[in-house]
Symmetry: C2
Subunit: 443 residues, 2 copies
């Protein structure tokens, strides 16, 4: 394809020379060079097509023409900071607000999920006057210093991890592999009580809770779906301690779960977080994100006396892109598509579970689906190597999927929202073949 | 203009309702609604033109057609993360590297100056194994938690500022108003010795220096230009303590200073920082930024075992934009223009200084110029209200300028780099009239 400037070997050489070695690449022993993408398909330098089952950033489909057009038009007209009045900023804030419960009415526009979660912590600490944060086991909230501190998924990678004294880790509300499982009478209450116990311990030591933060559905943590009622009970305990509930929708918001626009809404209409953070899908790949909170929290933040200014946050181009993404979701009924195709995919996978003992659990909402591979369905021994094998074999079949979770044994589906039933058929058919071959090897 | 969706009053109403009240607007009692911009000019909803003397983000000129075209073309083709090989990423890294001393060869692409400076601190702490950071009085390094801690410009705004125990503030190397002034025999050594004294104190208390961080020229701190030789001496002291020198070029890089591409190069060829952070001008308004460091620091960072992944950082669109910005700087000789027009502007302002006692100091490099207003040239009493008056009167004349520094008495010029001598004539002529009127009122 004409889009190639260097031969692949030269690209690899330059990357080794000039890009930080901590920045990992997919399939590092034989990385893919992608030069073009459209919808749910990506193309390498030879024109080979790959089905993308993992890119939750290209939410409405790679290079969606409506989004590209909105961006290009606004870029030609104006791109400046939010110290000037601009209609895109306020219209976008109004449109985002309309997707949320009424009390979540005040927006802060930033550039990444990390900037959003960092600001959420600042809002909570300023509002409460407290410092302690409760986070979940295996959580991932971003890459800036303050967020590595609250991301066990990250800080467990450190050879010399030293846990921040203000950070407390509660058990992941994982009803498949966690402390309280599906057979437990009331796992929601049991997991919420774990949070309450942490609050009590913090109080005993003289600490005070600023916030509980959780991804509405844990993604890197292994596609974990908390039991309904868990967030309500946690919120009650956290509010009683004077803290706030932060719902991190960076990976799972914007209709992906199918039944609702926001994943926290899976818990029921009686649950409303105090702060919602957004990211990845919000701009279909454009660097932008948002924090939404209540008037009370926003006023408390202002009372600190410190201005909040973000150079690029809320610029007219980012807002035009954000608006276009919202429009496409509605126009193409992508939330409905996520529900329908997600259900179809989950059904196909359930049939695979009957066939392949390696599949321990299928869980998902809309186009956010996890397939947990285990060597033993009773002991739940993680089938980590097998999960890697599936990923690599799928790559050979030109299908992009990833494995994550604390044991890297959960196959993660989070494709662009235009994913079709035919795409689902194809990937499941290939998984079937790969698992069959794997099973034969094991026997 | 057609670009208006709401009447101005409605925009203001929606902004009050849906945008965080901590997000301040220029001229809050009568804010400007900007709907279009081109080069160094911005246009409000009525088509009124404003001369922009402050927007260092729209570096090569607002909405530069080459940049817009590069962005639109790449957006149509591909926008994905850096886990796939892409030529834009490596070519851009190579091109950036070519502007820097050879040993600064490894890049990390992120989305904002804040993300860049936070990563710089992480790199320095991992490399050194130390925690303590030395920062300058009045410094501003960003808005995420870790950077507010090292930004006296920000944390002094807090009603209940509590200084981070690992952060130490050295005097700003300001030879006009600082501890050691132009009449001092060797201010560079004197200011560097202040840093050495801090290192000694930290060591006595059992601490260890991870880094010294400074804007190559302080911007919010009042357009401060450190004396030549200061950075070299500081680097010597910091290296001896096992720490790194971080040069923050977020506000002043990319040819703005005229004589050099990077502002730290004003100190001389014998000075090379260990880490350089970039931001604002890098993408002409597109949310992107970069950290560049040495192979040694990058390897040490990798040895922590923690991957570095930034969802949007280094995507093909951001890199295409970054490449276009570098091309335009060369093609239009904007660095040369900054040198010539900056010199012309400084000369015009020097003449004003002879005429107006309110002007205490003119300092600048290229198109980064500060005009410090004082009520008394001996006592240096800050003329804060007068600076505000100048800004407001200039706004009435449709010229955008700002006042900053710890006393908000420094008029700051940092216009798009296509600023012309005619633009300089116009703004200085208006300042002359305003200062004359002001002087008459004072008499």
């Amino acid at each position: 394809m004409s889009a190639e400037k260097f031969e692949k070997s030269k690209t690899i050489e330059l990357r080794k020379k000039h890009v930080g070695p901590s920045c990992k690449i997919f399939f590092s022993h034989d990385p893919i060079k992608i030069v073009q993408a459209k919808g749910q398909y990506m193309y390498d330098e030879k024109g080979q097509c790959y089905l993308d089952c993992i890119n939750n950033v290209a939410h409405v489909g790679h290079c969606h023409p409506d989004v590209v057009k909105a961006a290009a038009q606004q870029m030609e007209l104006l791109n400046t900071n939010s110290r000037f009045l601009h209609d895109n900023l306020v219209f976008y804030a109004q449109r985002l607000q309309a997707t949320l419960p009424e009390k979540l009415s005040v927006c802060y526009f930033v550039n990444s999920g990390s900037e959003a979660n960092d600001l959420a912590l600042r809002l909570a600490r300023q509002y409460s006057g407290h410092k302690d944060i409760i986070t979940l086991e295996n959580a991932y909230h971003g890459h800036v210093s303050s967020l590595i501190d609250i991301s066990p998924y990250k800080f467990h990678q450190l050879s010399d991890a030293e846990q921040n004294q203000f950070v407390h880790v509660a058990p992941s509300p994982d009803v498949y592999r966690g402390k309280y499982r599906a057979d437990y009478s009331d796992p929601a209450t049991a997991y919420a009580n774990e949070v309450k116990a942490i609050i009590d311990t913090v109080h005993k030591k003289g600490g005070k809770i600023a916030a509980f933060i959780a991804e509405s559905l844990q993604s890197c943590g292994g596609q974990v779906i908390p039991p309904v009622g868990y967030f309500q009970q946690v919120a009650k305990h956290v509010h009683k301690a004077g803290g706030l509930f932060i719902a991190d929708e960076v990976q799972v918001g914007f209709g992906r779960v199918g039944t609702n626009f926001w994943a926290f809404q899976l818990q029921g209409e009686d649950f409303v977080p105090d702060i919602v953070t957004m990211g990845k899908p919000i701009g279909n790949g454009h660097p932008m994100s948002c924090v939404v909170t209540t008037r009370e929290v926003a006023e408390a933040f202002m009372s600190s006396g410190m201005e909040y200014f973000n150079t690029f946050g809320g610029n007219p181009v980012s807002c035009a892109i954000g608006l276009a993404v919202l429009d496409v979701i509605v126009k193409e009924d992508l939330q409905g598509n996520a529900l329908r195709v997600g259900q179809y995919l989950t059904n196909l996978l359930e049939k695979q579970k009957e066939k392949h003992p390696l599949i321990g659990d299928i869980r998902g909402c809309g186009l956010f689906v996890g397939v947990e591979l285990v060597k033993d369905r009773l002991k739940l021994t993680p089938a980590t190597a097998e999960a890697q094998e599936v990923i690599y074999k799928l790559k050979e079949q030109h299908i992009l999927l990833s494995a994550d979770g604390p044991h890297r044994n959960v196959l993660k589906f989070k494709p662009p929202m235009c994913f079709t039933m035919e795409d689902a058929d194809l990937v499941v058919e290939k998984i079937d073949l790969i698992l069959t071959a794997l099973q034969n090897t094991l026997i």
